[in-house]
């Protein structure tokens, strides 16, 4: 009779842990929905009970193979660091269940002669278990106390921000410890011969865990690579387009230049110095300044080493010049590694320049100026300044939906803020000064290494 109660208790414990894990992996971080939760729970409990009363090894193996396959599939699709934590918690909950049950069992057989050592190992297991359970619960904001949440954030951020290699190493160590503890209890299970096969999956789980994680990494890396390639290709297209346009401009200019020379000759032949003067001042000086200006802007592009950013700046300048905006650029050093993802830097610069062009176009002076400087500590500072007509309201600037440009267009700066939240070493200053709206992005070198 006692045996049946223990079996049912173990089944419920394992079932709960398993369903919690699945629930966590399938999504819905914030709330447990019974509709999703119950099927897994009942399935697992039934499975356990089934195994208890059908002692055939082959059937058990098939049952566990099914669960394992399910886990692999889940991992392949949605494994990430958080899920790893859930899974670890799952494993440990199970081990704890075994520990608890075995402690109460009548046919308890000490594994080691030294019972104190055994107790220590047991305690170690429980300590790790407690830590992981805490993380597990905290991830659902189970505790609302600030200190605990902070602890979770720090721990979780640490895990999430460390490069995969280190994380994999950490996981391995953790898994190893868990496997050792698990093994001991499984060994105990061997003594209780009927229940042995029940514990095999626990032995396998750490391995599967790692396997799934690696698979996931591989998939993600391929995906990122593809995306990067596509992005580079797109940028290249834009870039070549611009170069084509520039060549066309040069050709057109040469054509104009010939015409100008011809006109000049006609003035000279007629000795019309006054006409020559007015023509020179009116036509040539004006054209020259435009051409020079354009050149100086694009000359700086070579300092930018990040190809997508190069493309973005070129298009933006081109767009600005087409709108009769005076663009001036000063870049005092090569801009290469910033510690920011190229895509994020490009998005930020895109938002800066889009806003600047839009505001400058409607302003009286029509001026945009960009400077990239790098100080002795190798901190990079990017400044975009533009003239404007409607002074933006500083208190609303970063609110979703705020814009000086009419309805439905004010998402830029809110997005910008969201991007910047990810980078602790990047700060943003926004200043209205001397009639210019100025955005300064500071990328400190401190965290780059």
């Amino acid at each position: 009779m006692n045996g049946i109660i223990y079996n049912i208790a173990e089944a419920i414990l394992a079932g709960t842990a398993f369903s919690l894990t699945i629930q966590a992996m399938v999504g819905s971080k914030s709330r447990l929905k019974p509709s999703r939760f119950l099927p897994y729970l009942s399935l697992t409990i039934l499975g356990y009970l089934f195994l208890e009363w059908v002692p055939m090894l082959a059937v058990r193996v098939v049952f566990w193979a099914l669960i394992v396959t399910l886990l692999v599939i889940l991992f392949y699709h949605m494994a990430d660091i958080k899920n790893m934590l859930y899974l670890s918690a799952f494993i440990l909950l199970n081990i704890a269940g075994v520990v608890a049950l075995n402690l109460f069992k009548a046919h308890y057989v000490p594994l080691l002669k030294n019972s104190r050592l055994e107790w220590l190992i047991g305690l170690l297991g429980v300590a790790i278990l407690a830590a992981l359970c805490a993380l597990f619960l905290l991830s659902w904001n189970f505790f609302s106390r600030n200190s605990l949440r902070k602890l979770y954030r720090v721990l979780y951020k640490k895990l999430a921000n460390t490069p995969p290699s280190l994380y994999v190493r950490l996981t391995l160590v953790l898994m190893f410890v868990m496997s050792v503890i698990g093994l001991i209890w499984i060994y105990r299970g061997i003594l209780d011969k009927d229940r042995f096969s029940l514990y095999i999956p626990f032995l396998l789980l750490p391995v599967l865990n790692l396997f799934g994680y690696l698979l996931y990494k591989l998939a993600i890396r391929n995906k990122i690579k593809l995306e990067e390639q596509k992005e580079k290709y797109d940028q290249l297209l834009i870039y070549t387009g611009i170069i084509e346009k520039l060549t066309k401009d040069v050709r057109a200019f040469r054509h104009d230049y010939n015409n100008i020379l011809l006109t000049l000759r006609s003035y000279i032949e007629q000795n019309d110095i006054e006409g020559l003067k007015t023509y020179y001042n009116r036509e040539i000086l004006k054209n020259q300044s435009v051409v020079l200006n354009e050149n100086s802007v694009f000359l700086y592009i070579e300092y930018i080493k990040c190809v997508p950013l190069k493309g973005l700046l070129t298009t933006a300048f081109q767009r600005a010049l087409e709108r009769d905006i005076q663009v001036s650029v000063s870049i005092d050093d090569y801009l290469d590694e910033t510690g920011m993802q190229a895509i994020d830097l490009c998005r930020i610069m895109g938002i800066f320049l889009d806003n600047a062009i839009e505001a400058a176009r409607d302003s009286q002076d029509k001026v945009i100026s960009l400077s990239v400087t790098r100080n002795e500590d190798r901190d990079v500072s990017i400044v975009v300044a533009n003239s404007f007509t409607d002074k933006p309201k500083m208190n609303l600037l970063f609110e979703e939906g705020y814009t000086t440009k009419g309805n439905g267009r004010g998402t830029g700066l809110a997005t910008l803020k969201a991007i910047l939240e990810q980078y602790e070493h990047v700060t943003l200053n926004t200043v209205i000064e001397n009639g210019f709206f100025i955005q300064e992005l500071n990328i400190s070198s401190a965290c780059r290494e």
Binding site: N293, S371, V384, N395, H425, E440, N442
Partner: protein
């Protein structure tokens, strides 16, 4: 005290350098000022070592933004700015297309003078007038209290009375200072800041330190506790800090 003031003219073109020097000399003579004038036409980096700074020293720099090949004027300006936080920098440039608005902000330059401009003298006088006006206020008994904010990029000198509030950016553990026309992000803690500010700064919430000079109205609705500051900024109030805020309101608003 006035003898400590110095004007540096850093320019590799001797002719321009002389022209500026004579304009400055004329201005100083006209106003009976005894400021030192130093012209530098080569080995520009040595200027940085020469600079003396201190509470009663005022330095003014007329600085060519493009200096030969070896020494970039902008880099020099940055070095000078790093050493002399409160000095005045006026750029000399021949390029209109130079990214002046951005650079001016970056270096906190006062203004710029165009080489070959016919009104160069008027422009210099104008700059000197501005400098004298600002520094005479500074030397006054009731001089404006300012705070120096060092961000990872530009440094800012902000008058205390202009600060509307500080807020913590929880996700990044940084502080954002808000004024009517600036929002500046830097690394510090609200506790540290409050120590260095006067008693008119009140911590009304874990994430907000407000300047009581700018309080416009307080919403006491328990479900929506907030204080409205100048320029329409809104900050949350913690219930346990509400009392202190109301006490202030009773006496001063």
């Amino acid at each position: 005290m006035e003898e400590n003031n110095r004007i540096y003219i850093v320019e590799d073109d001797k002719q321009i350098s002389e022209q500026i020097k004579s304009c400055v000399g004329e201005y100083l003579a006209a106003h009976r000022l005894r400021w030192g004038v130093r012209t530098v036409t080569d080995r520009f980096d040595s200027v940085v070592d020469e600079i003396e700074t201190g509470p009663d020293v005022l330095n003014v720099y007329f600085l060519d933004i493009i200096l030969g090949d070896a020494s970039n004027g902008l880099k020099l300006a940055q070095k000078i700015r790093n050493k002399d936080t409160y000095g005045y920098i006026v750029f000399i440039t021949s390029h209109m297309e130079f990214a002046f608005p951005a650079i001016q902000y970056k270096i906190r330059a006062l203004d710029y003078i165009l080489k070959g401009d016919e009104e160069i003298k008027r422009k210099i006088f104008q700059c000197m007038d501005t400098i004298r006006r600002e520094t005479s206020v500074k030397n006054d008994e009731q001089r404006e209290q300012t705070i120096l904010i060092r961000t990872s990029g530009t440094d800012f000198i902000i008058p205390i009375k202009d600060i509307i509030y500080f807020e913590t950016n929880t996700a990044k553990r940084s502080i954002i200072l808000h004024t009517s026309d600036k929002s500046i992000e830097f690394r510090d803690t609200l506790d540290e800041l409050q120590k260095n500010l006067d008693s008119l700064f009140y911590r009304c919430h874990r994430s907000f330190l407000i300047n009581l000079r700018h309080v416009r109205s307080i919403s006491k609705d328990r479900s929506d506790l907030h204080v409205t500051l100048s320029c329409g900024y809104k900050c949350l109030i913690s219930p346990r800090y509400l009392k202190g805020l109301l006490r202030y309101e009773r006496y001063h608003l």
